[in-house]
């Protein structure tokens, strides 16, 4: 792999620390201004590797790696770094808590007006967004995990109080974010005849069969998911709609809307302050669904369970979220893989029920497809089909197939894919819009994830080649020169025809690149694939080598010089090593066995040299 997570993450840390840590204090902000999402992303650039990769841990300065500490030089000494992180995290939580103690999850400067020139009203800027719930879950989990370890090292009472205070505040924000996600879940039920229904049927009907038949099959395929939605989803939003599914000819979709759904009921849990009324349309957005799923995955991760990061109330909420996670994942996998012939997923670009087409959506859906494939242990053949789709997305978005023209296909990189947030106008003001431009890092992360799942060496290396190409692309897009050197994003670095030059960092983008590097480090840390072929070859080589070795020992005098005895001893040790490594590292065993054979042959050749001369 060309991706070298350790080196690249350390470079990124150096730049982040230098840029963020000014005059002894953490400074928020970036290209898109400070808001509850961007600020969390900025902190996660440091905290995500520090909590997800053991090598990068900062919570215990006693065992932190030296190069890791050196990279954060700008934040002070090994003793100061964790303390300053604690303070930066507290600063974040305080910034996004209302005077009455209610956590704020506003989109603020990430919101754009739906029509150019329209003026966003202040109360609209304060609207809560699913992106903020999700990133807060990730950041707060990382924070609590960090403080849990760090407080065991701390002895100073003042510092202990500070750490405990942060942990309390982070836990409250975590609960509030989970409540937010539970109130943003959307179930959209529609008739097969209306616009939504027609779009959905057209998308899934890849073999062009009669509509009535397809609708019936689709209803059958979704019946179980719907039954669980109806029976098990009992709190938060999305509880009322699923009953309508029993009416004839009804279809539905589920996932996360952009914010708290209109008329979403409040949720009873520990104190999370005011639960604000919802504004968002009751329909899933693919982007926010993906973002929410990622956060929920973190809630049920091994780390979260092992460290016991959730309290009792949070465990309950997490269970409810996990249920929605599974249903949503199954739903989209069912749609994307519907039918006997070509999967709807393979029909690029994906077309949403409101009639918008984009390769980016294909990428989002394939992510859910893969998550489902992990759950159902899908065979390599199915995984390979998704791999083909990812390659196709890379081509079509001009990452692997480059052109020199300024074509519309580049819009997804810059300015990005824009969609309107329906319902945002009900807060008073114009409709708001959201822009996403993270197709490249997301594609890389999905590619790495999928590569890690493949057991077939050839298919895996094909995907890793794609990952290398994607990384080269991302590498070209990093900012150069100045304080932001080595951070992201400079789209013109990969596409010179884009006439745009940024000097400020986009934390949104940089954090997504960090996610890729973290994923890459997980993949690299897994044991290499074991080739059966190599194991067989190693076994055969060992048979010959051992036989020759035994003959060497039997037929030649034990009364010989030191160097020959030493050589034979070394060969014996190497043979033992090759035998021991054969199962785990067959390639290593082959190499060692070959070396042994060569050395034994050199001895035998030397003995043969006596024949001619005697």
């Amino acid at each position: 792999m060309q991706i070298q997570p350790r080196q690249q993450l350390l470079d990124m840390w150096r730049s982040t620390a230098r840029l963020s840590f000014v005059d002894g204090d953490w400074q928020f902000g970036g290209r898109d201004g400070a808001n509850s999402i961007s600020d969390a992303e900025q902190l996660l650039c440091v905290l995500a590797p520090a909590t997800e990769i053991p090598l990068f841990r900062l919570d215990n300065p006693n065992v932190a790696e030296r190069d890791v500490l050196d990279a954060l030089d700008a934040m002070g000494t090994h003793v100061q770094v964790p303390q300053r992180l604690v303070r930066a995290l507290k600063k974040y939580v305080d910034r996004y808590t209302d005077a009455d103690g209610t956590p704020i999850f506003s989109g603020d400067t990430y919101f754009e007006p739906g029509e150019p020139g329209a003026e966003i009203e202040p109360q609209q800027r304060r609207l809560d967004v699913v992106d903020s719930f999700s990133v807060s879950i990730t950041l707060m989990l990382a924070t609590i995990g960090f403080t849990r370890i760090f407080r065991q090292i701390v002895t100073r009472p003042e510092l202990l109080d500070e750490v405990a205070e942060l942990e309390r505040a982070a836990s409250k924000r975590l609960t509030a974010a989970m409540v937010g996600l539970l109130r943003s879940f959307a179930v959209n039920v529609f008739s097969a005849e209306d616009d939504f229904g027609q779009e959905l049927v057209r998308m899934v009907n890849q073999d062009r069969r009669p509509t009535r038949q397809v609708v019936e099959e689709l209803r059958n395929a979704l019946r179980e998911i719907n039954a669980r939605l109806r029976d098990d989803v009992t709190i938060g939003s999305g509880t009322k709609e699923s009953g309508e599914f029993d009416l004839p000819n009804r279809l539905f979709e589920c996932g996360w809307s952009w914010g708290i759904v209109q008329e979403a009921p409040e949720i009873e849990t520990s104190d999370v302050g005011v639960q604000r009324p919802g504004r968002a349309q009751n329909a899933p957005y693919l982007y926010f669904t993906t973002v929410a799923l990622d956060a929920i995955q973190a809630l049920s991760s091994e780390r979260t369970r092992l460290l016991g990061l959730l309290d009792e109330a949070q465990l309950k909420l997490a269970q409810s979220l996990q249920l929605r996670f599974e249903l949503t994942r199954s739903y989209w996998a069912a749609i994307a893989g519907f039918g006997q012939a070509r999967w709807p997923l393979e029909d690029l670009p994906w077309r949403t029920t409101d009639g918008v087409e984009a390769d980016y959506f294909t990428l989002l859906v394939s992510g859910m497809m893969v998550q489902n494939q992990i759950a159902v242990r899908a065979p390599d053949a199915d995984l390979s089909r998704v791999a083909d789709v990812l390659e196709e997305v890379a081509n079509r978005s001009r990452i692997t197939r480059r052109s020199t023209e300024r074509e519309p296909a580049l819009d997804v990189h810059h300015p990005g894919l824009r969609f309107v947030l329906e319902g945002s106008e009900t807060a008073g003001g114009p409709k708001l819009a959201w822009t996403v431009a993270d197709i490249s890092p997301l594609l890389l992360r999905r590619t790495l994830n999928l590569a890690g799942l493949l057991a077939d060496g050839t298919a895996r290396s094909r995907l890793l080649d794609l990952a290398d190409e994607l990384w080269r692309h991302l590498d070209n897009r990093s900012l150069t020169g100045g304080l932001t050197d080595g951070l992201w994003d400079q789209p013109a670095g990969a596409f010179p025809q884009l006439d745009v030059k940024f000097t400020e960092v986009s934390w949104y983008y940089t954090k997504r690149v960090v996610d890729c590097l973290v994923t890459a480090s997980h993949i690299i840390n897994e044991p290499p694939l074991r080739s059966e072929l190599l194991a067989d070859i190693a076994a055969e080589l060992l048979i010959e080598a051992e036989h020759l070795y035994d003959r060497e020992r039997l037929n030649n005098s034990t009364y010989s010089g030191d160097s020959l005895a030493a050589e034979l001893k070394q060969i014996g040790i190497d043979l033992e090593r090759a035998r021991n490594r054969r199962r785990e590292r067959p390639g290593v065993a082959v190499a060692v066995a070959q070396d042994v054979l060569r050395r034994l042959d050199r001895l035998s050749a030397a003995r043969q040299a006596t024949h001619g001369t005697m």
């Binding site: 215990n60 300065p61 006693n62 065992v63 932190a64 790696e65 030296r66 000494t77 090994h78 003793v79 100061q80 964790p82 303390q83 090292i153 701390v154 002895t155 100073r156 510092l159």
Partner: protein, 305 residues
């Protein structure tokens, strides 16, 4: 400020590092005094290269002072007496560098209340007259340490900044020994409590200094084979884990002194000339001494976690 230098084992480089700290601090313009409390073996004169007092003075040193045979212990101006070329004249801007030596042939003695009173007087004068007083205690649990603990707990010493440096080499045995010296039975904290110290406060005043550390990344280690470096890296990580578990981890470390060939063969002050002119010592060692000398006075470095 009073700095007490101690170590569990001998051969940790406690004295040579302490002397270098005093030297670096003096070069930085602060007045320094070095009190040789290694009563069994008062050899700091050798490090400062004072030919008359290689192993202590003939009389009037710290032994005589404690035993009541001298009213004031002898003081030696290192800048004036040393034979070392770079010590011959006091560099412009440098502070005083004074040695208070022990007596030749003197040995350890049991502390009496009167000795503690004398010791308090000695420390108070050092505190008044100098910016830094380095008190070099002998290795292990010694009478010198007991006197120092008793003196620093004395009411007259209230308000005097007393800090402790524990030197240990970067090996398994030394890590465990250093941890034991501080936290173990009859260790510094326990002995301190018996003498009237608040153990929590005393613990906050203790920092560790790792000596003769083999830094795999240092240019001077280029001779090591790749296998040795790979092994060294793992061993180093294991030592960090051990140190963390023993309570002598990085968060309580004030400095690290790399392994230096010059110091290995000859305990001496490392001058800038040893690096620049003679090329015998490594720049890393001098930098480490400088940094450590600075951190002595950096309150945040002592704040800890």
């Amino acid at each position: 400020m009073l700095i007490f230098a101690t170590s569990d084992k001998g051969g940790t480089g406690r004295s040579v590092t302490s002397c270098n700290l005093a030297y670096r601090t003096a070069l930085d313009g602060k007045d320094c005094v070095y009190l040789d409390f290694d009563f069994g073996s008062p050899t700091s004169g050798a490090i400062f290269e004072l030919p008359e007092v290689l192993a202590g003075v003939a009389g009037g040193g710290l032994h005589d002072f404690f035993l009541g045979r001298a009213e004031e212990p002898l003081r030696i101006d290192v800048w004036a007496e040393s034979e070392r070329d770079v010590l011959l004249t006091r560099p412009a801007g440098a502070g005083m560098l004074t040695l208070v030596p022990g007596d030749r042939g003197g040995s350890e003695f049991r502390a009496t209340a009167e000795m503690v009173e004398r010791c308090v007087r000695l420390f108070r004068r050092a505190e008044d007259e100098f910016d830094l007083a380095v008190v070099d205690l002998s290795a292990g649990r010694s009478y010198a340490t007991e006197i120092a603990l008793a003196a620093t707990a004395h009411p007259d010493m209230a308000g005097v900044d007393a800090r402790w440096l524990v030197f240990h080499r970067w090996t398994r045995q030394h890590i465990i020994a250093a941890a034991g010296l501080v936290q173990g039975p009859h260790g510094l904290l326990e002995a301190g409590r018996a003498r009237g110290h608040d153990p929590a406060a005393l613990r906050r005043a203790v920092r560790f200094v790792r000596t003769a550390v083999l830094d795999p990344a240092a240019p001077s280690q280029t001779g090591l084979r790749p296998e040795q470096l790979a092994w060294l890296d793992r061993t180093d990580r294991g030592l960090h884990e051990l140190a963390g578990a023993q309570g002598v981890g990085r968060s309580v470390v004030l400095g690290e002194i790399p392994l230096d060939p010059v110091l290995q063969w000859r305990e001496q002050l490392l001058s800038n000339q040893d690096v620049m002119l003679h090329g015998t010592a490594n720049q890393e060692s001098v930098t480490a001494f400088e940094q450590l000398a600075k951190r002595l006075f950096d309150d945040e470095a002592w704040l800890g976690l």
